[in-house]
């Protein structure tokens, strides 16, 4: 069972929900927010393996290249350019698709690999933790996310997704059997939640909503859930104490009151996402 935790808007509590639910469910925790992975700050795993994430890029053999420009014309990403009698590569624009190699009549193109990030795996609090980290100044996070999710283990996997609704999240959702959407009761939270709901609906998987910083009122998110017939998994009440524990990088699940909240959420998630 792979459960994606996403939000649309950033900073609504994806990591808080995923780390604490992972503890409550004794699930594997996977941090897919590879641009800014924060889950390990809380779970503090002992990292036992570290692997580089490599992407391919073309290398042009100057002895064979006639600078005909066929590779430049075929590259959809403008990663190759012809300057005088040279072909230049802009590495960070290259998607490693291989189109240039296919069109080169002179066998002048081969591929080499370079590192754009890494995957770390470890054990923290008795659960398996893994995360991807994108190297700073690298634009493309998708290859790191794909590598991280390639061989998910059996059992329950909680996938802490990046914010937004574009390619990074699409790739994180690819293997999900269910989704938890985390939001907060504000106009911004609702606006971005609607976008996330639209995205999740494309996957035909069960999903439900968790309201973080809940004001204990019949707020706009609860009304939206009722109107749209979307399941509310549960709420995390707003509290200054919660904010302070979080700010210090502490696990909320260690605190008795919060443990009750997250155990209740995990029960709600089981009911809504329909797994045994």
């Amino acid at each position: 069972m792979n459960i994606a935790v996403l939000s649309g808007k950033g900073g609504t509590g994806k990591t808080t929900v995923s780390t604490n639910l992972a503890l409550s469910l004794k699930a594997n925790y996977i941090d897919c927010d590879v641009e800014e992975p924060n889950g390990f700050l809380f779970l503090k795993p002992n990292v036992y393996t570290e692997e580089k994430v490599m992407v391919e890029y073309p290398v042009i053999d100057d002895n064979k290249c006639t600078a005909c420009g066929a590779c430049v014309n075929v590259c959809e990403f403008n990663a190759l350019a012809k300057v005088k009698d040279d072909i230049i590569l802009f590495q960070k624009l290259c998607h490693g698709c291989g189109a240039c190699e296919i069109v080169c009549k002179y066998d002048a193109i081969t591929y080499d690999k370079r590192e754009i990030g890494k995957i770390e795996k470890g054990i923290g609090r008795g659960i398996n933790c893994s995360r991807g980290i994108l190297n700073i100044s690298e634009p493309m996070a998708v290859p790191v996310i794909r590598e991280l999710l390639k061989n998910l283990s059996e059992g329950i996997n909680l996938i802490d997704c990046p914010p937004g609704t574009s390619c990074n999240v699409v790739n994180a959702l690819r293997y999900a059997d269910g989704a938890i959407l985390v939001t907060e009761p504000s106009e911004f939270g609702l606006h971005d939640l609607k976008l996330a709901v639209e995205l999740v609906k494309m996957y035909n998987i069960p999903f439900g909503i968790v309201i973080n910083k809940d004001d204990r009122k019949d707020n706009i998110i609860k009304k939206y859930c009722k109107e749209e017939n979307i399941e509310l998994i549960g709420v995390i009440p707003y509290g200054r104490e919660t904010a302070v524990l979080y700010s210090n990088g502490q696990i909320l699940y260690d605190d008795v009151h919060h443990k009750i909240i997250f155990d209740k959420l995990s029960k709600g998630a089981r009911e809504v996402l329909l797994w045994n």
């Binding site: 800014e36 391919e56 291989g98 189109a99 069109v103 100044s137 634009p139 574009s166 494309m202 990088g249």
Partner: protein
């Protein structure tokens, strides 16, 4: 002058602060580069004076009448986007390798609309913004376009304020490339600091002048001290410390910029920050 508001971590207050700075300066160009979660326009009842469709990339499409199911496309696709002679639109990166290998010429690349773009006119100035099609990619290119679109309305070298995305990837890189200054909005939490560090290194890499403000600073004074140490070590400019203030949430829910609430302590701190920033930029 282009000023980009970033944060690394999401939800630290980029949009609230970007909007407040725009209101204080009044006649500015506003650009919402957080195309995944575009909230800036919610503060305004403007009029869309221009609309456009943005073609962000291409997707492969197989003509079933021509396909002989040889499977060459499947084996050439490095993204594993083709399965059972069908292209998964979510995974296809539009590279065209399959079109080159197909012996039947059955595959074509088709332009993909990824967003609607808008220029919204306000009482003063405009917003350049977009509504992205859900699940589409290529937000980096879209951001470059939104910045260009805004520039067309910038006579007299007005200030441009860019509300950026969280993270450090292509969306953020496209927002800061060629910009004059960055304001990073952080919060006194472990995650806030960790993400601040990553976004600051990115700004250094691109050589952009970087200022920092700590939002909701009174939530955790010890974390503030850690952030201040980092700022001093890096020789960055701390331009403001904004207190936690319930009025900010009120302003979001009433969809009015925080500058409308003159009694707000956060508003006062932002005003003070803006005068600090003006002396630097």
């Amino acid at each position: 002058m282009e000023l980009v508001v970033l944060s690394g971590k999401g939800g630290t207050g980029k949009t609230t602060i970007a909007t407040a700075l725009a209101e204080l300066e009044k006649d500015v160009i506003r650009i919402d580069c957080d195309v995944d979660a575009p909230n800036l326009y919610l503060f305004y009842k403007g009029k869309d004076i221009e609309k456009g469709e943005f073609i962000g990339g291409k997707k492969a499409s197989i003509d079933e009448a021509l396909c002989i199911k040889c499977g060459k496309c499947e084996s050439i696709c490095r993204f594993h986007a083709i399965e059972n002679f069908t292209i998964n639109q979510f995974i296809c990166e539009g590279c065209g390798a399959c079109t080159l290998i197909c012996p039947q010429n059955a595959i074509k690349l088709i332009d993909e609309k990824t967003a609607d773009t808008f220029v919204t006119e306000l009482d003063k100035g405009i917003i350049s913004r977009a509504e992205m099609d859900i699940g589409s990619d290529g937000s980096g290119k879209l951001i470059t376009y939104l910045r260009k679109n805004g520039k067309r309305f910038n006579e007299n070298e007005k200030l441009t304020i860019i509300d950026g995305s969280p993270g450090i990837g292509c969306a953020v890189i496209s927002s800061i490339t060629g910009a004059d200054a960055v304001l990073v909005v952080t919060e006194p939490t472990k995650s806030g600091l960790e993400d601040l560090m990553r976004v600051v290194v990115l700004c250094e890499h691109f050589g952009v002048f970087t200022m920092i403000c700590i939002n909701k600073y009174d939530i955790n004074e010890e974390m503030v001290a850690e952030i201040e140490n980092f700022i001093n070590d890096k020789d960055l400019k701390l331009v403001g410390k904004i207190p936690y203030d319930d009025t900010v949430m009120k302003s979001i829910n009433e969809l009015k910029p925080i500058t409308h609430y003159k009694e707000s302590t956060a508003e006062k701190a932002i005003e003070e920050m803006w005068s600090n920033m003006k002396s630097l930029i």
